[in-house]
């Protein structure tokens, strides 16, 4: 089947969508195994999660595509292109791209858990993309499985018909043959697709491969794409010669061509992913398509933080490493910045908190960097009195108060599903974070809350609080929901009256005192006593809103006489002097950089 393309009627392109841990990756494994994509001995768990980090943390970060050949009961061979999508909200953009390349979705729901927040978010996206949705009730091998209740929930909460739903165990293989048949029967083939029309292929994704250079994932709509063909990228205007066409089965296989409805990859001697725009339309340079495909909106970073190497000597290494990560992750942005408290580093933009965490973890693990991150922040729109607007990515760049007319901040619409007993605590949390309740409904014993919340209240320890209040039972998802004016102020932390730039933040006035007091208390614990007392203050403009004092040390002297061993004493002194090099001068005191680092680290853990 490599030299001819498959007729449309025998192609099924579908995504697997689910709340995290409901079994997407395991199901993909089973389908691959069942269709003979890999021999049993080649199967390892979660075949499609290729990064160590993905397999270890059990999350899918990048969408993955694999082509399978399935011979159905009707005796015909079908081509399945399946995409395992990331479950997490931060990668909703990846999900939406994948969905645009498919006609159907398998909605996997854990029969012991039921519908969760990301189940909903993903379903809505699939519906937006006109997908046919086939419900798959997973983990029926478990004693706690309750297939009927979960079906009822799906009907009630999502309003999907579950009469075709298939109950399976992705782990043991129960129901997999039935599911394969259901895919053929209930999921639609690609809609149109004219093999003779000019080439039109959607650029679904691209990544950098050390051997092949940039690899582009495409979905052909019309025409065919083959090696040697000269193609044009309609958005960027670039032209390239295709040097390789292939597919993942799931091993990489080079083939002659891709026809209408088919998915696969191409390479065209491209060195940087920046040259490839996700959502672009690829066409034949000698037979141009009249109209490009719809494409999608570019992803924009919504959460920002600064990263500094703990050891200043690692700055260049950090720059190189960020560059390498950005090679494969077009949604990750960074630029150099410098801080008085933390030295030289980078301001980085992420799709969300998990994205941020993953990048940080990769830098630490794959590049062996020891870093410190400032508190995450969002993008504010600062409207100035001269009627210009600036987008504020870093609290340090906040214009003078007198120049500010008003500030807008991003809001989200959050869906939270949780057991009823935790409702009180979660409502209080949302209220504390300036949330506005939109909806409260019940799905059996589970409450479904829809809230509007300012994003900046969510990036600051909201997740962790949600998890701890609900003992891990609440699920959460959100979509961006516009900008709104807010009473926002820049809060600074002053040490002996000098501002510590790395600790500056934009907060809502109503939250400033709580946050300020927390930071001051934390710093008091972390700053070692010195010869002089140290005043720690949180201030807005010139007004101090919280204050702590580190009292002066009362005693610090080596009592014992080491006889003539002066060298030993001198080495101790040298060590202290060396330590001073890592200190930052604030008024007459020197604060070890490690205190700021610890203050910021504690922020992560809270």
């Amino acid at each position: 089947m490599t030299d001819t393309t498959t007729p449309l009627a025998r192609i099924r392109n579908f995504a697997i969508i689910a709340h995290i841990d409901h079994g997407k990756s395991t199901l993909a494994d089973r389908l691959i195994e069942e269709c003979g994509g890999l021999e049993k001995r080649e199967m390892k768990q979660q075949v499609l999660d290729s990064m160590d980090l993905e397999r270890e943390r059990g999350i899918t970060i990048k969408a993955q595509t694999v082509r399978l050949a399935y011979t159905a009961k009707d005796g015909l061979e079908y081509q399945f292109n399946l995409m395992d999508t990331p479950g997490h909200v931060d990668f909703a953009y990846e999900v939406s791209r994948s969905l645009a390349a498919c006609e159907g979705s398998l909605l996997v729901v854990d029969s012991t858990q039921g519908v969760e927040a990301q189940t909903l978010a993903n379903v809505y996206q699939a519906i937006e993309n006109d997908h046919e949705i086939l419900c798959v009730i997973n983990k029926v091998d478990l004693p706690a499985a309750d297939v009927d209740r979960v079906k009822e929930q799906i009907e009630e909460v999502i309003g999907l018909d579950t009469s075709n739903a298939v109950a399976i165990s992705a782990k043991s293989g129960i129901g997999i043959p039935e599911l394969l048949e259901a895919i053929v029967t209930f999921l639609p083939p690609p809609k149109s697709g004219d093999a003779d029309a000019p080439l039109k292929a959607l650029l679904v994704d691209s990544w950098y491969d050390a051997y092949l250079g940039v690899v582009i994932l495409v979905r052909v709509v019309d025409g065919t794409i083959r090696a040697g063909q000269k193609v044009r990228f309609m958005q960027t205007g670039a032209t390239r010669d295709i040097d390789r066409v292939g597919m993942f089965a799931p091993k990489r296989v080079v083939i002659d061509q891709l026809g209408p409805g088919e998915m696969g990859f191409i390479t065209a001697g491209i060195k940087e992913i920046a040259e490839t725009k996700v959502g672009d339309t690829i066409t034949d340079e000698r037979r141009l398509a009249a109209e490009p495909l719809a494409g999608f909106k570019p992803s924009v970073p919504v959460v920002f933080c600064s990263l500094f190497p703990v050891d200043a000597a690692q700055f260049e290494h950090l720059r190189d490493s960020l560059g390498k990560l950005a090679l494969n992750d077009s949604s990750f942005h960074f630029e150099a910045e410098s801080s008085q408290a933390l030295g030289f580093g980078f301001r980085c933009g992420f799709l969300g908190l998990l994205h941020m965490e993953i990048i940080q973890e990769r830098l630490e693990r794959e590049f062996d960097l020891d870093m410190i991150a400032t508190a995450p922040s969002v993008v504010y729109r600062v409207h100035q009195t001269n009627s210009t607007m600036i987008e504020l990515y870093n609290p340090a760049d906040m214009p003078d108060v007198v120049k500010i007319d008003h500030i807008e901040e991003p809001w989200i619409k959050a869906t939270i599903l949780l057991p009823d007993e935790y409702l009180g605590g979660i409502l209080q949390l949302c209220q504390e974070r300036r949330g506005v309740q939109i909806e409260l409904t019940y799905v059996g014993a589970r409450a479904m809350l829809v809230y509007r919340l300012p994003l900046n209240e969510v990036v600051f320890d909201f997740y962790d609080r949600l998890k701890s209040i609900s003992r891990g039972y609440a699920s959460f998802d959100y979509t961006l929901d516009g900008y709104e004016e807010g009473d926002l102020v820049k809060m600074q932390i002053l040490v002996n009256n000098d501002p510590v730039d790395a600790l500056a933040m934009v907060v809502h006035r109503s939250q400033s005192e709580r946050r300020g007091r927390m930071l001051c208390e934390r710093l008091k614990e972390l700053i070692p006593k010195q010869l002089f007392k140290i005043a720690i203050q949180a201030a807005i403009g010139g007004k101090v809103i919280a204050r702590e004092t580190v009292s002066a040390m009362r005693k610090d002297v080596t009592a014992k006489c080491y006889g003539g061993d002066i060298s030993r004493k001198r080495k101790l002194l040298d060590k202290q002097k060396e330590g001073k090099k890592r200190m930052r001068q604030f008024g007459e005191v020197e604060i070890p950089q490690s205190a700021f680092i610890a203050a910021l680290r504690m922020g992560d853990e809270n």
Binding site: F532, R554, D556, C561, I566, S567, Q576, K577, K580, E590
Partner: protein, 388 residues
């Protein structure tokens, strides 16, 4: 050669103890038997080695430290003292100190040690109640220590003893009473050391496991301040951070260290500072007793290679040691050692900051740490001497 370089102090290390105390990280070892003849020969050989290199000096003090030098055979101490006298000029008022553990085994030797020439003894009493002594792993009780002290006072012209304070559970009131009891002994010199948890000791392990309830910073400070107050009122002011004496009764040997004078170190792990042709050399001997002894037998000394001390290091060492003394550092001493004045050697801004804050004082004659400054000397030094 400058005048003060003519004076020389000699330290002799005896590395053996009957048992190892749980707080102690000195170079001390427990051995079943010690070949006293070989050790005597070794110490004398190393003395000769340094006598050749530092001839023409006047020896102002000898100090037998340890370990437990009161376990040396008196004849060994006598041989060392005689050899020093043979190779150098002895100052007429030479101070010859020996550290002793206060038990009957050792006090029995005091008479012979006095005959050998020892004229000052420093007794490791450590505490004045039996429970604390057993907590500190000492082999003596209070009664034995007092007996040993009485013998020492009869035998030696000058006697001092050591106490360790800031022990777990010790209150300011307890310590005040203990100091009062110590003062009743009427010695002219007392060394009072705050208990320090040293790496590689049994106490360090206990502390790491959270099994030592060490006093907090506030209590430590209060205990230190109490020490200053009580001993000063009794006419034994601190002349150094942990050392108190009636004026004139200070340990001359230790003053040599603090004034950064020259001294030779004999025996395993001993250190020295020797100025030869204007170059200050740091000397250091192998720490392990057996290795040292083998080296001495083979080469006549057990020292590692000398290391010249740079001018910057000399400056740090001089200030670091000198500021421990109440008298501080004379400007003349700085000029003499380093050929430069204070304003060249120190960062003016840092210095005046510490002076203004009341931690240091500077006059035409000298730089010294105030009582407040001495109590925080580590931080004062780090701040004064850090280069930026």
């Amino acid at each position: 050669m400058r005048v003060q370089n003519l004076a020389l102090a000699i330290y002799v290390h005896w590395p053996f103890c009957l048992s190892k105390c749980p707080y102690c990280d000195f170079n001390s070892h427990v051995r079943e038997t010690v070949d006293h003849d070989r050790w005597r020969t070794g110490l004398l050989a190393e003395l000769d080695h340094y006598a050749d290199r530092a001839s023409g000096r006047t020896v102002t003090s000898i100090f037998f430290g340890g370990g437990t030098p009161s376990l040396m055979e008196p004849s060994t101490a006598a041989a060392v003292i005689d050899r020093v006298a043979a190779r150098w000029t002895m100052a007429p008022d030479v101070e010859i100190t020996l550290e002793a553990n206060p038990s009957s085994v050792e006090s029995a030797r005091f008479a012979a040690l006095a005959v050998a020439g020892v004229n000052r003894v420093s007794l490791g009493v450590q505490a004045l109640d039996d429970a604390s002594l057993s907590f500190l792993g000492r082999r003596h009780n209070v009664a034995e220590a007092m007996d040993a002290l009485a013998v020492a006072k009869r035998q030696f012209a000058r006697t001092s003893f050591d106490l360790i304070y800031a022990r777990p559970g010790q209150s300011v009131a307890d310590w005040r009473a203990e100091l009062a009891r110590a003062l009743e002994e009427g010695t002219e010199h007392l060394s009072v050391y705050q208990l320090t948890i040293e790496e590689g000791t049994r106490f360090a392990t206990l502390a790491a496991r959270g099994e030592l309830d060490m006093p907090d910073e506030e209590t430590q400070a209060a205990l230190y301040e109490t020490t200053q107050e009580v001993l000063e009122a009794a006419g034994l002011p601190a002349y150094e951070i942990s050392n108190h004496a009636r004026p004139g009764a200070e340990s001359r040997h230790n003053l040599t260290y603090w004034r950064y004078g020259d001294y030779v170190g004999i025996g395993p792990g001993a250190h020295g500072r020797l100025t030869v042709d204007g170059v200050k050399l740091a000397t250091r001997a192998h720490r392990a007793p057996e290795i040292w002894l083998d080296r001495v037998s083979a080469k006549g000394h057990g020292a590692h290679a000398d290391v010249p001390v740079s001018m910057a290091e000399r400056s740090d060492e001089l200030l670091m040691m000198g500021l421990r003394l109440k008298e501080g550092v004379a400007r003349a001493r700085l000029r003499d050692e380093l050929g430069a004045d204070i304003d060249i050697l120190l960062d003016d801004r840092k210095l005046s900051r510490l002076v203004d804050a009341g931690f240091l004082q500077l006059d035409d004659d000298r730089l010294s740490a105030t009582a407040e400054g001495r109590q925080r000397l580590n931080a004062v030094l780090a701040s004064l001497l850090s280069h930026k």
